[in-house]
Amino acid sequence: MATQHSRSAARIMMAPAVILLLGWMLVPLAMTLLFSFKQYLPLRGGDLGWVGFENYVRFVSSSAFWPSVQATLVIVGGVLAITICFGVLLAMLLDQPFWGQGIVRILVIAPFFVMPTVSALVWKNMFMDPVNGLFAHLWKFFGADPVVWLSEAPLFSIVLIVSWQWLPFATLILLTAIQSLDSEQLEASEMDGAPPLKRFWFIILPHLSRAITVVLLIQTIFLLSIFAEIFVTTQGSFGTRTLTYLIFQRVLESQNVGLGSAGGVYAIILANIVAIFLMRIVGKNLDA
C-alpha cells in the first residue's frame, strides 16, 4: 500500500504526538505505581518508606471498598441502560423528517457541551431542590410531598444527571448509524411482510449493534471515572461513593497518598479488564 519512504516519513511525523502522549501517560502511571508501594502521608511525616503490598491489602479490606465497587457498577450500568435505550428511540425519532429538524438536532446535542460540574449544579439546585426545585413544584402541584432526591434516591439522582449528559453522545452516534441504513433494506423487509416492530427487531437493531457496542465501550471508559457529579451533589454520602470517589477521599481527605495510589492501580486494572472485554465484542462485531 504505502511505500517504504512514505511509511518512514509518516513515522517521523507522528513521533512528537506519540512521545508526548506516552510521557503524559507513563509519568503519572509510574508515579502512581511508585507511591502505591510506599507509606506516604504528606501532613503526617511525608515519605515513611517502602511497605510492600500493604496498601493494596488495606484498600481492599476496608469496609468502604465493596460498596464503592457496587455503587460504581450501578451508576455505570444504569447510565448505559438509559442512554442506549433512549438514544435508540431519540435517534429513530430524529431520523424522521419534520419541521425544524436542524434546530432540534442542535438542541438535543447541547447538554454534551455543558461542563459536568455545571450540569450537576443545575440539576441539584433547579430541578432536585426539595424546596425550590422544579420537581418539588411539580410534586406539590399534584398534591404530593416533594422528594428529597439527593438523600432519598441518591444513586438514581446521579444516574439521571449523568444520563442527561451522555444521552446526546449516544443519540448522535446512533443517529449517524441509523442514517447509514439502506432504505431499500427496510422496504424489502416491509414487502417481506415484517410489521414495524419486527422491522425494528430484525433489521434496525442488528444494523445498530456495532454503533451500540461503540457507545458502550466509550461511555464505560468515561463513566468509570465520573467525579464532578458526585462531588457537587452528595459528596459520596448515601451510598454514592464510587471507586473513583473513594480514591479521592483516601488521597485528599485522609491525606494517604500511598493508599489512594493502590486504589488507583486497582481502578486501572478494572478499566483495562472492561476495555479488553469490550474490545473483543467490538472486534467480533467488526468481523461480521
Partner: protein, 334 residues
Amino acid sequence: MGRITLDKVVKRFGDVEVIPPLDLTIEDGEFTVFVGPSGCGKSTLLRLIAGLEDVTDGQIRIDGNDATDIPPAKRGLAMVFQSYALYPHMSVRKNIAFPMRMAGIPEDEQKRRIDAAAKALNLTDYLERRPGQLSGGQRQRVAIGRAIVREPAAFLFDEPLSNLDAALRVGMRMEISELHAKLKTTMIYVTHDQVEAMTMADKIVVLRAGYVEQVGSPLELYRAPRNVFVAGFIGSPKMNLIDGAEAAKHDCKTIGVRPEHIAISDSDGQWTGRVGVSEHLGSDTFFHIHDTGLAETITVRADGEVGFRHGDTVYLTPREDSIHRFDEQGLRIA
C-alpha cells in the same frame, strides 16, 4: 394468478407530476419490461404497483381486486431491488427464509422451499455464508431466491442487473428468462437498457416522462415504432432520423432508416458521404458516415469483412420498404 391493471394511476411528489394519468394492463404470466431513459418514472411506477408509494389518484387492481390501499406485504408481490437489499447480518439461508418466517410458514416447509430455491439458483453451497462474502451475481441470485420462496403472484424487478459487469449481465439475463419460462409467473422488469428489454420481454412498455409511448412485443416495437422517440430508443445502433428535403421526398417531416437497412458501396448509391469512425465487432462493422447532407452522421451496419478506411468516399442506399415515416408531431405515418 397475477393480472395487474392500472386504471388512471397518477403520482405526484408535491407539485411535480411524475406519472400523469396512466392506464396499463399486465396479463397473467407475462414478462413485461418497463423501459425508458433515466428519470422517466419507471421505478416510481414499479413502487406504486408494489405499494411502496401511495398513488395520488387512480386505482391499481391485482387479479381484479382493488389493491390501491392494501399494504405492500399483503399484495402478494415480491420485489428484487437494484441494490439487492439483502439483510447483511443474516446468512443466505436466513435471508431466504425471512419472508416465510414473517408469514409463519412451518419450519419443514420453509426448509423444503429453501432447498428447492437454492438448487434452482445454484446457491446450495453458499447457504451458510453472509451476503458480504458473496459475489455480485450470487447476491443477485439470493435476492431472487428470497422472492421465489414467497410464491408471489408477480415478481417486480427494478434494474436488477445494473450493478453487474457486462458478462455476468448476459448470464443473469438468461437465468431470469429461464426462470420465467419455468415458473410462468407474471414478471415486471424495469430497465433503462433497451437491449435487456428486447431480449427478455414478452411485452415492452416504453415510458417517457411518465407517459406510455408505446406498448407491444419487441418485434412490433422494432418494426412499427409509434413515434420518433420509440424509433430512436428501440434498436441498436440507433435508427438514423433524417429531416428536411430527403424527408419531403417521402411526403413527411422525418424519415427513419435503421443502420441494418442501408447498403454501403464504393461505386454507386442514392446518398454520398465520407467514412468517419468504424466500429469493428468481428461479425458486423458499424460505419459512421459524415458529410451526407442528410444528418450529422448516418450509421450503417455492414458485414464484418467490409473494409472502408477513415476518409473514404462511400455510397449509401436505403431499403425502400424499411423506411419509417413520421409527421409533424413525430407520429408514425402508416
